[in-house]
Symmetry: C3
Subunit: 135 residues, 3 copies
């Protein structure tokens, strides 16, 4: 089994933001030379997450972030953790800090409208995610 692992940096520019990282992952997969296998994308932060969503209309990202903000408000007196990022931690538990992707013929197996996104929930800041390819 061949394993290739790369850590990629990402600079977010807003408190809450979703960034399409599909091309970066596909690039690691291509350079790995793996033809059939899979790939884990892992976010090394407790206030950032990885998700897969519609990649055609950027307004979808607005709707996802808006809904998450409504479900999990930023500032609440009921939060006992006083770092102003409890909402970010809750959102990460809901969205999840990793995704697993499949590789066929050297390419990611994704539906026509699927893209992989890094979710920033407490930016702006510098982030790291790991792309782990196996095959």
């Amino acid at each position: 089994m061949n394993i290739v692992q790369e850590t990629i940096e990402l600079h977010s520019s807003k408190r809450c933001q979703m960034t399409n990282i599909t091309a970066h992952i596909a690039d690691v997969v291509k350079r790995s030379g793996v033809e059939n296998g899979d790939c884990i994308v892992f976010c090394k932060h407790s206030s950032g997450a990885i998700t897969i969503t519609e990649c055609a209309d950027p307004q979808v990202l607005h709707d996802v972030l808006m809904t998450l903000d409504e479900l999990v408000p930023h500032e609440r007196s009921a939060y006992m953790h006083k770092e102003h990022d409890s909402d970010a931690h809750v959102k990460c538990c809901l969205v999840g800090c990793s995704e697993q992707l499949l590789i066929q013929g050297g390419k990611l197996v994704l539906g026509t409208w699927q893209g992989v996104y890094f979710c920033e929930f407490n930016g702006p800041r510098m982030r790291q995610y790991v792309v782990h390819v196996r095959g």
Copy 2:
């Protein structure tokens, strides 16, 4: 390492629906001949998801779908994406488009009450999910 990958079609009949796909996954695992390993189930759509929940009482599925509908309403003027499926995309970010399963002695490792479900959030339509077995 042995890798077996199959794409399975599923026809949903309602807008929101959960379908037990455990037997279909177990069948792929059996035919793969993998004794010890794992299995990824991946949904190739941004308005469908994969989850694991209680498989004994179908009313659980009602309660899961009802709660998701309440948390993420179908039609809202605040949605900026105008395809009437923003709710489906948000639900997919919350539930996730894949699950990972373990295989021991040629069988899926699941608790007594666990079943694997395809979640339709914008049906009815034809869907595809991939079962990727490794061992």
Copy 3:
């Protein structure tokens, strides 16, 4: 490929509770001898989950559990499943019953503030989760 699988028991003491299991997982990884690979942590219950969140301030766990309780109330007449655990099943669909972790140099790849947690949503009771190491 080397595969090591261990089932670990955990006794929860409250209805809803998050328990840091990172050290137990790291111990299985160490004993497996795997230097580079990955690890699946899988909960064998439909009312328990696995998540990764901030491990420095225990108040974060309060805020996560409180928010989940508010989003998915315990007792509701609208629930059709009459076992008083529909909320637990919904929370599991949101949080997810497994996590995937990466291994580098024999150690788990985690950010400074990340810990792996078993989420009890219908305790107290005895629980089992499986740690599956590959490399």
